[in-house]
């Protein structure tokens, strides 16, 4: 099951960031195979800040929080809970 946020992130990745990527799911490792590269990560961070309205501390842009769409969703949820 996916959440609306997960679906939106997957769409962002497949449409905007890497049109060549297919089969991106919530648990796909985005960073190992380079589906998302370093500039792609920056675009995701900007999108989360602009579209979701959650501020992302640069210290948090790590493997734990950005390796998969699920990790990103968990991170955003945690930030919201803190706000």
């Amino acid at each position: 099951m996916t959440t609306p946020l997960a679906d939106a992130l997957i769409e962002l990745i497949q449409v905007e960031i890497n049109p060549a990527a297919d089969d991106v799911g919530p648990e796909t490792d985005l960073l190992l195979t380079g589906v998302v590269d370093s500039l792609g990560v920056v675009r995701i961070v900007n999108w989360i800040e602009d579209e979701v309205g959650v501020e992302v501390d640069p210290v948090d842009v790590t493997l734990e929080n950005f390796q998969t769409v699920s990790a990103m969703v968990a991170y955003v949820d945690a930030r919201r809970a803190h706000a």
Binding site: V15, N18, P19, A20, D29, L31, L32, T33, G34, V36, D37, S38, L39, G40, V41, V42, R43, N46, P58, V59, D60, V61, T62, L63, F66, Q67
Partner: protein, 523 residues
């Protein structure tokens, strides 16, 4: 003379318990590494690998990557690094060209092994793939863990091939750069001496093994008994995690492309990290924008910084140590040739250019390749032999001799470009794009952002939508060779003879069409 195959064994005798390779929580001592190398080498022998064979390595980075390289060498075979993130067809082209029969992989890296087998008929056995990945491919399989131990009776000789590293060729066919134990060891011993590597060093292993910079950690590390800290691919895309790894692992030496260091500056939260263990930062592959380099040097004032230069064909051959942060508009020289290497700047007729005049840089060095795999005509075009029997490699790079023995890089002679340190031929990218349905002409080029970052882009004429064309390219080219942005145009300017005027497209149209993604992001 010793060979690369002896390096790990020698260190296992000298310092068995000291760390040789670290990846995350995993630490292999020299004795562990030696045992694993002997085991995998034994398994390769059982699979029929003999001296002189070429063995492919298809692995994302881990301790296994280091084990695999040294195991292949211990068999007397040459390793052929394969890009695990590249499309299967690109990997198959290398396997096929080099006549690779056996590939070493592991579960995360072997998703496409059955497709690879279908596209590369020479492949007959795989070490490390699980049964699901092998499927009905008919390949012989073997595991990483086994009781095999190699009988070292038939190890390599110093002039045997050690590795064949592929780079894009101008015709679209990849070319394999052949290095022997002699040339690789010449490089590793000089590098270890020049940068003062020792058993206390911890080398940050940044680059993938299909990239020539990797031979620094793979071989200069074992020459010096230094520990290699493996940096897995995901860290290269997350500067905040990379800086954490460098700090946690007390990395002392880094060798990477400028793009990686500017990423660390911009997003590596370096002020939060203790990088005091880092003593020497080497960069190469492309120029480091001077303002960014100065920023880096001010942030790490105790750390030495060197610009190193050398195409994969010669390993490193020149170096320039920076004494102080450069002025904003300074050109940092690629420096002087190191021990045993000689450089000249020549004109089209092969005559030496006067000092200060640009010409092609040609290099003679003991660290030089013996030639391109199965391409005698290309080898002959690239290497001149002088009357003393000395071999000079034509780098294709334009340089000037700014003071005796000191060179400055000017640009390229042909349409080869460097994008984040990856070398590629624009012609190859254009051939692939133009082969797509609904594309009549395509021109690839590189645009440079405000801070000197480079980005591969392309324009094309035709009806194909840009996203479909990107997908087409991504199925056929390595990720770094896929244009990051594609623009459809109605027409391309032409030369007087009616050919597409690539020069004008690249120098006038492209800068106009493409603002740098960094700037676009900042909007």
């Amino acid at each position: 003379m010793t060979t690369l195959a002896a390096l790990v064994r020698d260190q296992a005798t000298k310092r068995p318990a000291e760390p040789a390779v670290v990846c995350g929580d995993q630490v292999l001592s020299w004795a562990d590494l030696d045992t694993q190398v002997a085991g995998v080498a034994g398994t390769l022998r059982r699979l029929g690998v003999a001296r002189g064979d070429r063995v492919g390595i298809l692995l994302y980075k881990s301790t296994r990557t280091v084990v695999a390289v040294h195991a292949v060498l211990r068999c007397g075979a040459a390793y052929v690094p394969l890009d695990a993130s590249a499309p299967t067809s690109a990997v198959a082209a290398v396997v096929d060209d080099c006549g690779v029969e056996v590939v070493i992989t592991d579960e995360p890296s072997s998703r496409h092994i059955a497709t690879l087998a279908a596209q590369a008929p020479s492949l007959r056995a795989v070490l490390g793939a699980d049964d699901d990945a092998l499927g009905a491919s008919g390949l012989v399989g073997a595991g990483w863990a086994s009781d095999d131990v190699i009988d070292e009776g038939d190890g390599p000789q110093v002039d045997d091939l050690a590795y064949v590293m592929y780079t894009s060729g101008s015709t679209g066919r990849p070319k394999g750069i052949m290095h022997t134990h002699r040339s690789a060891l010449a490089y590793a011993t000089r590098a270890a001496a020049l940068y003062g590597l020792g058993p206390d060093d911890r080398l940050g292993f940044l680059t993938p093994i299909h990239f020539d910079m990797s031979t620094f950690e793979l071989f200069a590390g074992p020459v010096a008994g230094a520990c290699t800290v493996v940096v897995p691919e995901p860290y290269l895309r997350l500067p905040a995690s990379l800086s954490q790894l460098i700090a946690d692992q007390a990395v002392t030496t880094l060798y990477g492309v400028p793009f990686l260091y500017t990423q660390l500056l911009d997003r590596g939260v370096l002020t939060e990290r203790d990088l005091s263990a880092v003593r020497w930062v080497l960069y190469g592959g492309e120029p480091f924008p001077a303002a960014r380099l100065a920023q880096w040097m001010r942030l790490l004032p105790e750390c030495r910084v060197s610009n190193v230069y050398g195409p994969a064909e010669v390993n490193q051959c020149t170096f320039h140590h920076l004494d102080a942060p450069p002025a904003t508009d300074a050109v940092v020289p690629i420096g002087r040739c190191w021990d045993g290497a000689r450089g000249r700047v020549v004109d089209d007729d092969g005559h030496d250019c006067p000092p200060g005049e640009p010409g092609e840089l040609v290099i003679a060095a003991p660290t030089m390749m013996i030639g391109y795999w199965n391409r005698p005509e290309l080898t002959e075009q690239s290497i001149d032999v002088d009357s003393d029997g000395r071999r000079w490699y034509h780098t294709g790079d334009l340089a000037t001799e700014v003071e005796p023995g000191v060179f400055e890089y000017v640009g390229r002679r042909d349409d080869q470009v460097k994008v984040r340190g990856h070398r590629l031929e624009l012609g190859t990218v254009e051939l692939i794009l133009a082969a797509a349905d609904g594309v009549s002409h395509a021109v690839a080029g590189v645009v440079t952002g405000a801070e000197g970052e480079t980005e591969l882009v392309a324009v094309y004429v035709g009806s194909a939508p840009a996203d479909e064309l990107t997908r087409w390219a991504a199925e056929r080219l390595a990720p770094y060779a896929v244009p990051r942005r594609l623009e459809r145009v109605d027409d391309l300017c032409q030369t007087a003879t009616g050919k597409v005027d690539r020069r004008r497209v690249r120098h006038e149209l492209m800068p106009e069409l493409f603002t740098h993604p960094q700037e676009a992001l900042a909007r």
